[in-house]
Symmetry: C3
């Protein structure tokens, strides 16, 4: 893994354009900012081309969308493709709500995604694999998560990140796994949304190797979460959220290399 | 009070569906999550039936709504009734803004609410009692708050929570009062919104006894706030907000029983 | 500077009405609340006149707007003028996105603003001065920031705050500068949005002297940020955000006078 991509983010401050869901948007903006990139958010379709033009990566979050937002997401995805900017999708709750799955699949037929990040329930839904998702949570299933992720990657022809206790990252052929992390991520709503946009920041400095960018983003984010968790004596989700921002800014490549566990 | 309902939330992780106002939505989601339930938010009317279907309670926040959101709130309330899911309403600022009062009363004519949670100014407005509300704050009035709450409960035929230094909970006949709490709740915007959605989580595990659920939710939330306040030497609203999430996750039934004050 | 205006806010709790961008709205509400004023937010044009009526100042944030929100912003600005309430504008990213600049200038042709607060890139755009803005960040330019701010103030016929390492406040003739602050403000998204709404709170207690209100708001906010930064051994953006709320509530006029640096 090229953990050094983290330094490239901090040196070049890539602009990451987001359509964020309204639930976690400030956290996502702060996370992008803390790690060293520059967040920008949009709600107006008329500024799409210009917004994509000043950005180095685009991250589209499909949580809590309304119909006008779907049009906006579509325009943003097409503009990202047209302007050759890396495009990351976070398909929130597509495993639990069939309407969201239909909209997400429909959108992904109209533009080419570079990276999809979701939990097991969400990735299973996109792969067409049976899974018992629970609301915004991963739920449970019998399938091997590596196979689920590979199936989704092949189907959508992109890199897939299946987040969980172990993160699985695959381009459909090659597979990387990240073993770092902490259960506190599940206790803080928006951890996944934040990772998705941070994946955008890594894609922006990756020279087009999105498989490398995706796995490095996962390793850096999971390791930083683990660094914070190790500072806490108890499971403190509120304190975790604040310190996660601290360490996204403070953690060095060396700090991460010291604890990194992946294959 | 059945404080043990808290353990039932943690064991069964009920899904609480929210239409949240955009001001406090992340805090509300994190609060639901921290106490042990599972939050989900929606902005799209097309997914209403399905969303209600996967949920164990519905909480509708009437803060900062636009016209399309009113349609969405209406559909959500009707679906909650049709699918027999407990329904909680938070009528933000209906005491200060007559437009909001009109919309709120109009909505409540079209579906049956199980629990309303508001401050004195908001509950007085729904009861049709004179009160000098101030923006989103409670304001002041001469009426006895217990009588105000009872009048609102009778008028809307539901359980009413009138939040304040003392919380008053009533079904129009019986009255419970919770004396725990801290002034820090007033210093953190969204404390009330969070409580309303947490009431939803308690309703979800209450076997239909919403009066029990409402008073227990108030006792648990107020006590946890007090536990946090007791840890702080000064009034620190930012630190309070973070630690409130910590203790929503950590506080045990025994911790709450130790300080609980109610009648 | 009348730092004592801070005490007047805490004694009279002015209501500050906001159209806030969805990215930072909770932070803005909490910041207004913590400093001692009372925040209220709106998303519905039908409640405009009534909302302005109960408010003591109006703050309009032009970050992340959609077309219906532009109509709402316009109605709010006109109502603030008609009801003689102080009006503050935050023109987010007008330096980077020409669509936003066009909309912002168009709005300001239709109502009279009392105070504009932005970073160098945003103020330069409104002044019609060349500047290399970067997304939501200030970017860089060769012009003297005092001249840029004066040009914008003359053009818009109002007080202008150009925020940065040094804050420049001007009515087009007179200039005040605030030297307090901390780089941590840049590391926390929404610091500027929060300042803009806090300027509204100071305007509400200023007896119409918005130049005085604007510079005092900058001094108080920058000093409180510096107080928090001095408590931290490292750059901790998450901890900074929480403690900023703490100190907005706790810091006294004397605490600020002790470190205030301005001319």
């Amino acid at each position: 893994m090229k953990i050094d991509l983290l330094n490239q983010i901090r040196e070049t401050n890539p602009v990451v354009l987001n359509i964020s869901n309204f639930v976690t948007v400030q956290d996502v903006a702060n996370g992008i900012n803390a790690i060293g990139a520059s967040p920008i958010m949009s709600e107006e379709i008329a500024e799409t081309d210009e917004m994509v033009g000043i950005s180095n990566a685009v991250a589209l979050n499909l949580g809590a969308f309304s119909k006008p937002q779907v049009d906006h997401i579509l325009a943003m995805g097409k503009a990202a493709n047209a302007q050759h900017k890396p495009l990351v999708i976070d398909p929130v709750a597509v495993g639990a709500i069939s309407y969201r799955k239909k909209v997400a699949l429909d959108l992904m037929n109209q533009f080419q995604v570079d990276v999809i990040r979701g939990n097991a329930g969400e990735i299973a839904a996109l792969a067409g694999v049976a899974w018992d998702a629970k609301g915004i949570d991963a739920g449970s299933g019998n399938q091997d998560v590596v196979e689920v992720a590979k199936a989704a990657a092949k189907k959508q022809n992109c890199v897939v990140i299946l987040s969980g206790e172990t993160d699985v990252i695959t381009d459909g052929e090659h597979v990387a796994r990240v073993f770092n992390g902490t259960p506190l991520f599940q206790l803080h709503v928006g951890s996944g949304d934040m990772l998705s946009s941070i994946v955008g920041a890594f894609c922006a400095v990756s020279d087009g190797d999105y498989f490398e960018a995706a796995q490095t983003a996962c390793l850096v984010f999971a390791s930083i979460g683990q660094i914070v968790a190790d500072q806490l004596k108890e499971e403190r989700p509120g304190t975790f959220a604040a310190r996660l921002m601290d360490e996204l800014h403070l953690a060095s490549v060396a700090d991460i290399e010291k604890i990194a566990q992946f294959d």
